[in-house]
Symmetry: C2
Subunit: 212 residues, 2 copies
């Protein structure tokens, strides 16, 4: 939304002197209160200013950019997560590769005897093991996995943006979605760069009137 010069001036005045009445703003600009009425309506309706009866105008700090950001921040893990694939610590690396192909996932989550998260296994971990000299049938996944507490994870109420930042920072393709149980974490979902890509497409299409 494009504001005109006078509207920008009004915002500057309100920023500095809030709360300020319409009459006072009009005085600053050397115009009548009636002249300002449409401008003040536009600024309050579009969320830039807030008008409190008998007090005056306040600056909300909300702009069209902020509003887009707020829309993005509404996208939560629970709307976009996938089903996790878990295997026990004792499973062999060979079994893990098979599981990855059968389930068509890029990451497996390893759980201990209580079913709590103990590690993460990526295609990269398995590829490294596979070209090594070890027999993949003899190596348990617990030897080659990334291990707690050095594992990035997220929760269902986290935002998609939080997870995107985490994946980039930790340089991983996926993180488990967890919830606390006892003194550990139960794995209840999976968030990957594929989920982020899908969230991005869904956000863009939600904003494309031709698709909706």
């Amino acid at each position: 939304m494009e504001l005109n010069d006078r509207q920008h001036k009004i915002i500057e005045i309100v920023k500095k002197q809030a709360p300020i009445t319409g009459e006072q703003i009009a005085e600053h600009l050397n115009v009548t209160r009636a002249t300002l009425r449409p401008d003040l309506s536009i600024l309050t309706m579009s969320g830039f200013l807030e008008a409190r009866p008998r007090v005056g105008y306040f600056y909300t700090g909300r702009t069209s950019e902020t509003i887009v950001y707020e829309e993005i921040m509404k996208m939560q893990v629970k709307q976009f997560q996938s089903t996790p694939v878990v295997i026990p610590e004792s499973a062999s690396a060979y079994k893990a590769v098979c599981e990855m192909f059968v389930e068509d996932v890029g990451s497996l989550f390893v759980v201990d005897e209580h079913g709590l998260l103990s590690g993460v296994l990526s295609r990269k971990d398995l590829l490294r093991a596979a070209i090594g000299s070890q027999d993949m049938n003899q190596v348990p996944v617990s030897v080659i996995m990334s291990r707690m507490p050095n594992i990035a994870y997220c929760k269902q109420k986290d935002t998609v943006l939080d997870v995107a930042l985490l994946l980039i920072k930790k340089e991983v393709d996926a993180v488990p979605v967890v919830q606390e149980r006892g003194n550990g974490f139960e794995v209840i979902g999976r968030m990957t760069k594929t989920n982020i890509t899908k969230a991005f497409v869904s956000f863009a299409h939600g904003k494309n009137p031709e698709k909706s």
Copy 2:
């Protein structure tokens, strides 16, 4: 931006009867032209309606949703692509795995003797080969790669959204960015789900006034 009931009604009237004058709209709503003035100002300033002098109001089809979509459509491959890693068709699968670890990428692009794209090699392709019975040193990548013309690719002027859709549809993690040369394609970049994730973060932060 939140519109009120009357503003929604005005948009509906203009959609059906454009071009229509302010007086005519006022008549439809049983109010005076003066009453409508702030509403019409808001609707034209925020881009919903266009006012042409001596003609009347038109519906532009632009809404705040459209404006966000237009912003997303401005993000192009050339702003977000990474450097590609290429290997010759004759390289061994073992050499390809080493290259993947050294360069820390999830996909390699395979080129023929003229340096033109002939295949794509993913971690999944290499993992499948690695747990097979073949000797990774003896298998050339040309045997295990996905081969032209069954390869998804993109160009620098494509949008990030186009590529996101392509990665989801083809179920791949990366596509080469190519340009035509002779009767083939030269590889000039790499677009992955990581690049999409970074584009998403960058879009969100570009819209976060606290970060800019």
